[in-house]
Symmetry: C2
Subunit: 102 residues, 2 copies
DNA sequence: CAGTTACATAACTGGAAGGTTATCTGCCTA
DNA sequence: TAGGCAGATAACCTTCCAGTTATGTAACTG
C-alpha cells in the first residue's frame, strides 16, 4: 500500500489535485481546469489516486465527484514518523553548536 | 524535490535500505546482502536515493559507506502535515458517532 | 428524438524504471 | 607487482508511465 501511496504522491499534478480536494469535493472537469493537459490525462491521474485509495468517487447524474480520502496519507505519515527522531537529533546538534557560539 | 523524494520512497527495496541506514552507516555490500538482487541493482537504488538527497556517501578505502540524510524526509512529512487536520477531522466524527451510540 | 455535457476507454508513442550480465576502476595486500 | 575485493559503469531488455488523439457511453436538455 505504501508503494502505491508514495508513487501517487510523486507526481506534482496529482499532489495539486489532492490540494484542491482538501478544500472540498470537485468534479473531473473542475479538477482538470487548472492544467494544460487533456481530460483523459486527468482521468488517468484520478485512476491512479483512486487505486492508491487517496480519493473516492461518487455519482451525481453525469458527474463523478471526487473526495479526498485521508487514510493512506495517514499511513504514509506514520511511516515517516519512524524517522522523525532522526532529523530532530540533527536539530539538537545544531542547537548545541549555536549555544557553543554564544 | 518532493517529486524525487516520494518517487524514491515508492520502492520497497529503497525503503528497506533507509530502514537499515536508520541504524547506522553501512557499505554497499552490507546493504545488498539481504536482497535477492545483483549488486549493480543495489547501486542503482543507492543512486536514486542519493539524487533524492536521502543518503550521503563517504569514502573509506574501497568502501563507500552510506549515511541516512533526513532533510527530504522532513520535507515530505511537512507536506503531509498539511493534510493532517483532514484525517483528524474524520476521527472526531467517528468519536462523535461512537458517543452517540452509548 | 437529437444534440450536448461529462466522463471513460482504447490505441498509440516516447521516455524512464528496474532488472540483468559483463566489464572497468581504484585500492589494499601478499 | 600481481591479484583480489568493493563498487561503479555500460549495454541491453522489458515493463510501466504520462501524455496524446479518437472514439464510446450514460445522462441531461431542448
Amino acid at each position: 500500500m505504501l508503494d502505491a501511496t508514495f508513487a501517487a504522491l510523486a507526481d506534482p499534478t496529482r499532489r495539486a489535485i489532492l490540494a484542491r480536494l482538501a478544500q472540498g469535493e470537485a468534479t473531473v472537469t473542475e479538477l482538470a481546469a487548472p492544467f494544460a493537459m487533456s481530460q483523459p490525462a486527468i482521468s488517468k491521474h484520478l485512476k491512479v489516486l483512486e487505486k492508491a485509495g487517496l480519493i473516492t468517487r461518487g455519482r451525481d447524474a453525469q458527474r463523478r465527484p471526487c473526495r479526498l480520502a485521508a487514510e493512506p496519507l495517514e499511513e504514509a505519515t506514520q511511516w515517516l514518523a519512524g524517522y522523525r527522531e532522526f532529523w530532530e537529533a540533527r536539530y539538537r546538534q545544531l542547537d548545541a553548536v549555536l549555544k557553543g557560539m554564544e
